[in-house]
């Protein structure tokens, strides 16, 4: 997918001035609320008309004020998963799912209804109405409906914001797997850095109605570590091994981690703040923290008055943070050996 946009749009006192080219199949648009993300979605989907400029998708002109082109939304083949599920309340789950499919040109209908229904685990819901579904079920139907329209681009406009934390992380695998399995490129729009990192590599940062940076989601998280209240969030996908005296033992690469907040699922996603990792120069004799990892400093990077320390633990990476003086005291340089202590309770389970 390639989006080329150079367009302006004023709504009320706000002006969006988008001028960028982006390629890639999974791209994020990151920005605070009010930065212009949703306006951008409206311009791409054809729901708002730019005041002037041009928009191209894969070389095809969708809008041009100069040439007088404005392709209507129904002809763009750009489907949206909104923040609210926006299901048609008068239709059944099945009719909702098929709404876009029935309107797609036969030559574009490549997605198999039964396959999608089974990926999204909607088999048992098909004949039901949509008004009594749970929040997660509704969002899965909304996703299925958008995908079944066989779009060439899927816009996910804060699709997780209205869901509580548990549901959010249950829906993310669906968003990813459906788009990957059915090969639909997507733009993922969000103000959440964690969501960004789980969904995309490449990120456009939007602020004040302009695109200010094109970066990777991990780089973005690192550069924001200094200002963030919670530091850098390490995301760890762990495999459960066994239980031990009230704690859960998980496999992380070739290391075992002890975690308080485990569950009975075979794999689980945890977050660990860079602030919850304590670094030691030498192996401490005895500590209360249940995890002590022998690491190599892979890299350091500045973040405000702190230093971010990228640790290589076996074949896995972790980011810790220390204040500048501590970095000097510990003699942290790339390649040095260091011990990282992490309390079992510092891992927060997502989903």
């Amino acid at each position: 997918m390639e989006i080329r946009i150079n367009a302006q749009k004023s709504i009320g006192g706000f002006t969006l001035s988008a001028d960028f080219t982006v390629t890639g199949d999974q791209v994020g648009i990151f920005g605070e609320s009010g930065s212009g993300k949703s306006t951008l979605v409206g311009l791409l989907a054809g729901l708002h008309q730019p005041d002037r400029g041009e928009i191209f998708l894969d070389g095809e002109c969708l809008f041009s004020s100069r040439k007088g082109i404005m392709v209507p939304p129904e002809k763009r083949r750009i489907a949206i998963v909104f923040q609210q599920p926006c299901l048609f309340p008068h239709l059944s789950v099945k009719s909702n799912l098929l709404y876009g499919f029935r309107r797609a040109a036969p030559e574009h209908r490549t997605i198999d209804f039964a396959a999608l229904v089974s990926v999204l685990k909607l088999d048992t819901l098909l004949e039901r109405g949509v008004n009594n579904l749970s929040g997660g079920e509704k969002q899965r139907v909304a996703l299925g409906r958008a995908v079944l329209a066989n779009p060439r681009l899927l816009l996910m406009d804060e699709p997780l914001s209205a869901l509580d934390d548990t549901l959010k992380f249950q829906i993310i695998p669906y968003l990813k797997s459906v788009s990957e399995q059915f090969r639909i490129p997507y733009l993922f729009i969000s103000h959440s850095l964690v969501e960004m990192r789980l969904m995309v590599e490449k990120v456009l940062v939007v602020a004040g109605g302009r695109m200010v940076e094109q970066t990777t989601s991990d780089q973005l998280a690192r550069s924001r570590m200094g200002q963030s209240q919670v530091g850098y969030i390490n995301l760890l996908e762990l495999e459960a091994i066994r239980r031990m005296e009230g704690l859960f033992v998980y496999q992380w690469g070739d290391t075992e981690l002890l975690v308080s907040a485990g569950n009975n699922q075979p794999t689980a996603l945890f977050e660990l703040s860079s602030r919850d990792i304590i670094l030691f120069k030498k192996h401490p004799e005895a500590i209360s923290a249940r995890n002590l990892l022998d690491c190599i400093v892979a890299n350091t990077f500045p973040a405000g008055n702190k230093i971010g320390v990228e640790l290589s633990c076996g074949n896995r990476r972790l980011v810790a943070e220390v204040v500048v003086q501590a970095a000097d005291d510990l003699g942290i340089v790339t390649g040095s050996e260091i011990f990282a202590a992490i309390k079992a309770s510092s891992f927060r389970r997502l989903g």
């Binding site: 729901l47 939304p73 489907a79 949206i80 709404y99 109405g129 329209a149």
Partner: protein
């Protein structure tokens, strides 16, 4: 107690016929106007709204008189109607037009209230899923404003049954031809012996109104049933 003359039966039949015809005639226009004022942006929208709502505030007699000026033999549209051999004034069709004009704002208002509750993102979703504007109109907006349409239609039907002022001016009070229930009651009320006859028609009138309201409630409940 309920003793109706053949002329009374005619009046009841005519009332129902006029109210149904006025409702059927107004529905498509009412839906279109409600759609325009709810979803479209255009110049002169305020003027259009004032124009639609005017019959609500004008005395029906004034509306009747204006319709007479418009549709009468020497009226503004008279030559045009003559050309097609259409005669409206003092026929039951004139009563239909009078009822339609007087009830129209009620119909538009109800449909509009229904349409205003529709989430705009549903419409946007439908468009991005490949529906053209008229497709969205039929498959999303129409079914979701059904409650408003039913409410508006019953209101309009009931209003038509009671229409008097405009009707008597454009359609007259001809028994068997243009005499509806209110006009018949008016005539009985003016005659010294008509008291019980007027009462009978009043009871019929109440009965029809109650039935219309019950029907409205029933449909509303049925529509709200889907889970």
């Amino acid at each position: 107690m309920l003793s109706l003359t053949p002329a009374d039966y005619d009046a009841v039949r005519l009332s129902l016929k006029v109210a149904l015809a006025a409702m059927a005639l107004s529905l498509p226009f009412g839906f279109a106007f409600a759609y325009m004022v709810t979803f479209l942006k255009f110049r002169g929208k305020v003027l259009l709204e004032v124009f639609i709502n005017l019959p609500l505030t004008l005395p029906p007699v004034v509306i009747g008189y204006l319709l007479l000026l418009l549709l009468g033999k020497n009226g503004w549209l008279g030559p045009l109607l003559d050309l097609f051999g259409i005669r409206l004034i003092f026929t039951w069709k004139a009563a239909v037009i009078a009822s339609a004009v007087v009830g129209f704002p009620l119909l538009v208002r109800s449909i509009r209230i229904g349409m205003e509750t529709i989430d705009h993102q549903l419409i946007q979703a439908s468009r991005t899923l490949g529906a053209r504007w008229y497709d969205t109109l039929i498959t999303v907006i129409l079914p979701l404003s059904l409650r408003g349409i039913i409410a508006g239609s019953s209101l309009m039907f009931a209003r038509s049954l009671g229409e008097f002022g405009a009707t008597i001016i454009v359609a007259g009070n001809i028994p068997g031809v243009t005499q509806t229930i209110p006009l018949a009651i008016y005539e009985y009320a003016g005659s010294p012996t008509g008291e019980s006859m007027a009462m009978s028609l009043c009871i019929v009138s109440v009965a029809i109104s109650v039935l219309v309201l019950l029907f409205h409630e029933f449909l509303g409940k049925k529509l709200g049933g889907r889970d």
